[in-house]
């Protein structure tokens, strides 16, 4: 099997990152924004794994980082969803445009 070059993997992860960023900026639904953030985190994970495999195949640091990020992302999602639920209770909506009290 021919090895996939690093640049292709990096291309995928960059693509994934900007999809996430686009989602984050354009969507007004908080759940969707959270999903977009997860996409960005996953693109970073891909980067870690790819660099680990291609540049330092003898080390496992990149893999460990990825594992930690996945764990923390799960915790962070729990927190974020808790926030979202609270927002929904107080505003009856999870649209970010409805929660704009914290301004000048």
């Amino acid at each position: 099997m021919q090895d996939i070059p690093l640049s292709q993997i990096l291309f995928v992860s960059t693509f994934l990152f900007f999809i996430g960023m686009y989602g984050l900026f354009t969507r007004r639904n908080l759940i969707t924004m959270l999903m977009s953030i997860e996409l960005m985190l996953n693109s970073v994970n891909i980067n870690f794994v790819a660099f680990n495999k291609y540049l330092f195949p003898d080390n496992l640091d990149g893999l460990f980082f990825t594992l930690f990020i996945i764990t923390i992302a799960a915790a962070e999602a729990a927190v974020a969803i808790a926030i979202i639920i609270n927002l929904y209770r107080s505003h009856n909506s999870i649209d970010v445009d409805d929660a704009t009290e914290m301004k000048y």
Partner: protein, 657 residues
Amino acid sequence: MSNYFYILWIPLLPLATFVILGLFGRKYLSGIAGLLGTASLLTSTILSFIAAKQYFFVDGKVNGVFQKIVALKYTWLEFSPNVSIDLGIIVDPISVMMLVVVTSVSLMVHVFSLGYMKGEERFATYYAFLSLFTFSMLGLILSANIFQVYMFWELVGVSSFLLISYYFNKPSAVAASKKAFIVTRFADLGFLIGILILGFYGGTLDIGLLIERFTAVNSVHYISITGASFLGASMLTWGLTLVFMGGAGKSSMFPLHIWLPDAMEGPTPVSALIHAATMVVAGVYLVARMFPIFSMDEAALNIVTYVGAASALFAAVIACTQTDIKRVLAYSTMSQIGYMMFALGISKNGGENGLGYMASMFHLFTHAFFKSLLFLGAGSVIHMVHSNEMKDMGGLRKLMPITHIAFLIACLAIAGIPPFAGFFSKEEILTAAFHENKIIFGIALFTAALTSFYMFRLYFNIFWSKETSATNHAHIAHGHDNHDAHNNHGEGPWVMKLPLIILAACAVGVGFVPFSQLVTSDGKALETHIDVIFSIAPVVLSVLAILLAANFYKNQNNKSDKVASAFGGLYTAAYKKFYIDEVYLFITKKIIFPFIGQPIAWADKNIVDGFMQLLAKTTAKISELIKGLQSGKVQNYAMYFFGGIAILSILFLYIWK
């Protein structure tokens, strides 16, 4: 020597009384406030007498010399190992003497006020203020550190301010209290600078150490302070003169005397305590406390001498023309303090030449008794007549026999007639002046004659003069207090008579205290004797002045008016107090306000405030511009964040590499 530790209680008891009466007095204790204050002060007085007995007759003397004892020392503020402000209690002849004077006069005033201030609405507050004053004065006396002196000095000023404005719904009293406070504050500015100069060169604020360092001619400190000079005078002269300026302000020496006559707006017992016997002699006490340093500097001593002599003469002349009896007494106080000042000024430190110092302290001691007696007597008279003006009085001797006798004794004492107290102290002063400075002696002699004249002018005007009007007064007085049916109502209750009797006994007796054995400049006993030949001149002059006053004022006649018109301009000028108040008003209102005050006010409003407002407005403008960034939309914030990251990456990747 901790066996003087109990002296600490002497000032602390009045302080405790002040706190208790100040916090709870008006609500809960108005009935017993007077008794509480008097009882606590009685304890202090007894302790003072015990201290005086112990110091003067038991263990103060070592090898024939009275020692300076530091009974307590406590480091309060330490700036560096060498410079600290200590709180301490000093026990030496003058502080013990002053303890006795202040506590006993204050006690008399407390007792007298029980009758005089009875029924006042703010009775408890009055006693709280009296206690505060007594505490501050006692603290001032016992201070071992010049900065401690300064703190108590200000406290004394505050309590004087509070007591002068006791009748705060009277505009003249409020104006007088402000005047007293501002004038003495102005003088205290000089005092503070003086302290800083002495402290800077002496490297300490402790009075004992300062004296030690500045009296040793070879010490580093003495050489540095006399070596430095400013405007042609050495820093020692400047420091001492500025310290004296503070003393002159408190002691109402010319030209800082303008507050004292106005301060008579306060209740009369207060005038007796503060503005006659105790606070106004603080300046004399200060100079005496620092006297060894003063004696090292001829120029500063000369200033003390001439300011004292000028005040003595100046005030005596004015006193001859005033018609408000309390103002006459105020000017006479100023004149007598002038006496004490110049007696200090002509003195030297130690030995036979220290006669002036001892005489000054002696006069301070006797003056406190007869002057407070005069004021309390005047208080009794005012209590009866309800007026301060001489023309409303006359012929009171039959209505107020005790007051009359007491007042007469006090007048004889201040006039220097033997064997009353004033005679002895005044003789010492005159003797000292005769040996040191003939000009001063002349002024002193003339002032002594004037003193007799105006005191007896006062006496005859109050107690003799108009015979017929006496019954009228009784009727007027009855109209005010109709519950008292007795004919001798005006004398007041026994609490007002008792202090008069006690003080009259003092005015007779304290002259016989062997003062020269106890209080001298160097602690050694000084041999003095009354030279009969020498005392003929002043006594004869005083008697002549008394006869002249009797001739003018004993019966109603117009002789005095004729003499007044013969003096013409001089009389008017003296009656108007030599226009000093007008000069001050002119300087402040016509020169300082428009040329200094208003420009400063303008600069404050437009430049200082303007700069601040500019800052505030600029800040507001900028925030107005950028507040749109704080939109409250999460996605905008995310955008800024990514934008920032992008810019940083560009910076790191392409520009800083």
